[in-house]
């Protein structure tokens, strides 16, 4: 479990995060949602020890982030950032192989090589495994970095906007893959997600943030309500149900909900 106690974070005089206390359940896919500037990425970066804690406490599986050596934490917590590019010219397999570095420190064994191949398979990278990263599209590079994070084989994976650079089909496939991964392996994933319907369709747990504070948290069905989302994004939204999950539509497209429910829109227009 990740537990956050009384976290505050400022940049200069400006408060970025205020009074954050949170318990993230293990074995689940947690989505951090909220408008731009809500503090989602900052919270994730603090959990990922990419920013120094100013006040408060974060523990991951009982390990205190402030006192646990970073190499020990790397076997518990993996992070994927927003901007994923490297100056080095690496092949996909080499990049994914770095995910095993916390386990072998530069001397890979057979088990490490097997884990790398499993990660490559898991994210559908086998056709590109021997290619250099600069020969791939942005979405393929994104998947390669995700595979590296997966290969790290940690209890927790923190993903900052993992759907960047992915088209709708790949974004859906990735969210479905992450949800499956959580179900199959019991690992825990925390992802910053901008498109709220991806959270609605696949997240087990949702944390909604605004102005650096937690507005709501809980099961997706409980958090993704019309009132809360309209207030969260300062824009009216409708929440419908689709396949037993919430389906969020902007208010101006309200008339299309009826069309959608009557099956008048083509399949490609359906959101999930």
């Amino acid at each position: 479990m990740i537990e956050i106690h009384d976290l505050h974070y400022r940049v200069g005089a400006a408060p970025i995060l205020s009074d954050i206390s949170l318990s993230l359940p293990e074995g689940s896919l947690t989505a951090l949602i909220g408008p731009n500037g809500a503090g989602k990425s900052t919270l994730l970066r603090l959990m990922a020890r990419l920013e120094p804690l100013q006040s408060g406490r974060i523990t991951v599986e009982g390990l205190d982030l402030a006192t646990t050596p970073t190499d020990a934490m790397a076997r518990t917590l993996a992070i994927m950032g927003q901007q994923n590019s490297v100056a080095s010219r690496l092949r996909v397999r080499e990049l994914v192989g770095f995910g095993r570095w916390p386990h072998h420190q530069g001397r890979p064994r057979a088990a490490d090589r097997e884990a790398v191949e499993a990660a490559i398979d898991a994210f559908g990278l086998q056709p590109f495994a021997g290619r250099f990263l600069d020969e791939l599209s942005g979405g393929q590079v994104q998947r390669a970095f995700l595979a590296m994070t997966f290969a790290q084989d940690t209890a927790w994976m923190l993903l900052d906007e993992p759907l960047n650079n992915l088209d709708v089909a790949h974004a859906r496939a990735l969210m479905a893959r992450l949800a499956q991964l959580v179900q199959d392996t019991g690992r825990s994933v925390v992802a910053v997600v901008h498109e709220v319907n991806y959270a609605a369709a696949w997240a087990d747990h949702v944390v909604a943030m605004k102005h650096g504070r937690i507005v709501a948290q809980g099961a997706a069905e409980a958090v993704l309500t019309e009132d809360l989302l309209s207030d969260l994004y300062d824009t009216p939204v409708e929440v419908s149900r689709h396949d037993g999950r919430p389906l969020v539509l902007h208010h101006h497209s309200h008339s299309r909900i009826a069309d959608l429910s009557r099956g008048r829109l083509p399949d490609r227009a359906r959101l999930s």
Binding site: A48, D71, I79, S85, V86, A87, E94, F98, W101, G106
Partner: protein, 319 residues
């Protein structure tokens, strides 16, 4: 461990370096004063190899930290700082005092000051939240200009003879290596290069960028400072031996990236070091023996490096 293709490149470069060294040592050697000439040539050969490998490896390390293939340590003002120290020393103790300083002690003190200042500068910058490398580098560029301006100002108030001493250490010359510093410089450079090889796996992780490096458990800030300290020492050694060089490192690092099968440091570092040493040994052999122009290599190398810089810009290979 380097891939097979990289091993082949390393073996080929080693062969070429050995061949160039043999030509340098034994080409045109006469009967008289054979041992004197061989000693003189061996000293210079050791200096060329030390300088070539030091600049090459310092540049590769620096580019790893900066995550940019167009930057060199001289851009960060490392050699400008070294020259400022020399200028201030001449200005404060005079020509006679400067000449009477124990060269080895002076050299070691200069290295210590370089590492200390680099540590203070980058340690302060990195510790105060300017963890982004571009801002750190921009600060280095500005400080380089400041160091050169102070050197220029102090030079103007020196007497002409003292000014000539400062000028003599302000320009690179591969033909006149400071032999008195070769042994300590060579030993220190060898130690730093060995340390860089030992860190090659960590350098690979560092090259992935801060987020990935932290995720993988690397102590990023400590690794950046350690790498910059290695760069400071290697630049000090090469600048003390032959003077400041700007584009040579860029040329060598670019060629090494092209020659290596991948950018893994276990392959990149030896390949860069060998290419750096090979260019200087083969180049100095050609210019000194075939063309009787011992002082020309630095100009040609800097010119070729400048052209390579333009090539990188035009090809958009700068990342």
């Amino acid at each position: 461990m380097p891939e097979r293709a990289s091993w082949q490149v390393i073996a080929g470069l080693t062969g070429l370096l050995v061949l160039s060294s043999l030509v340098w040592m034994f080409q045109g050697i006469g009967g008289g004063n054979r041992s004197f000439i061989l000693t003189l040539r061996a000293t210079k050969l050791a200096g060329l190899i030390t300088v070539g490998a030091s600049i090459a490896i310092a540049t590769v390390l620096f580019q790893t930290v900066a995550a940019n293939r167009v930057l060199t340590p001289s851009i960060m003002g490392f050699d400008a700082l070294y020259l400022l120290l020399q200028t201030l020393l001449v200005a404060s103790v005079g020509i006679t005092g400067f000449a009477m300083l124990d060269p080895t002690l002076k050299f070691l003190a200069e290295i210590a000051v370089m590492v200390l200042l680099a540590g203070l500068l980058f340690g302060t910058l990195l510790g105060r939240g300017a963890r982004d490398i571009p801002r750190t580098i921009l600060t280095g560029v500005i400080l380089g200009v400041l160091f050169r301006s102070i050197s220029g100002f102090v030079s103007r108030i020196l007497d002409p003879n003292a000014y000539a001493v400062v000028q003599s250490v302000s320009f690179a010359s591969f033909g006149s290596i400071n032999a008195s510093l070769l042994l300590p410089g060579g030993l220190i450079a060898a130690g730093m290069i060995a340390a860089a090889f030992a860190l090659s796996s960590r350098l690979d992780v560092l090259a992935l960028g801060r987020t990935a490096a932290v995720s993988l458990g690397l102590r990023h800030r400590r690794m950046v400072l350690l790498t910059l300290a290695l760069v400071a020492v290697l630049v000090s050694v090469s600048t003390a031996l032959v003077g400041p060089v700007g584009f040579f490192g860029l040329l060598v690092a670019g060629l090494a990236h092209g020659a290596a099968a991948s950018d893994r440091h276990a392959a990149l570092l030896p390949i860069a070091g060998l290419i750096g040493a090979l260019i200087l040994v083969a180049g100095q052999t050609i210019f000194e023996r075939a063309m009787s122009q011992p002082a020309t290599l630095s100009v040609v190398v800097e010119f070729a490096g400048g052209l390579f810089f333009l090539y990188l810009l035009m090809k958009g290979r700068i990342r």
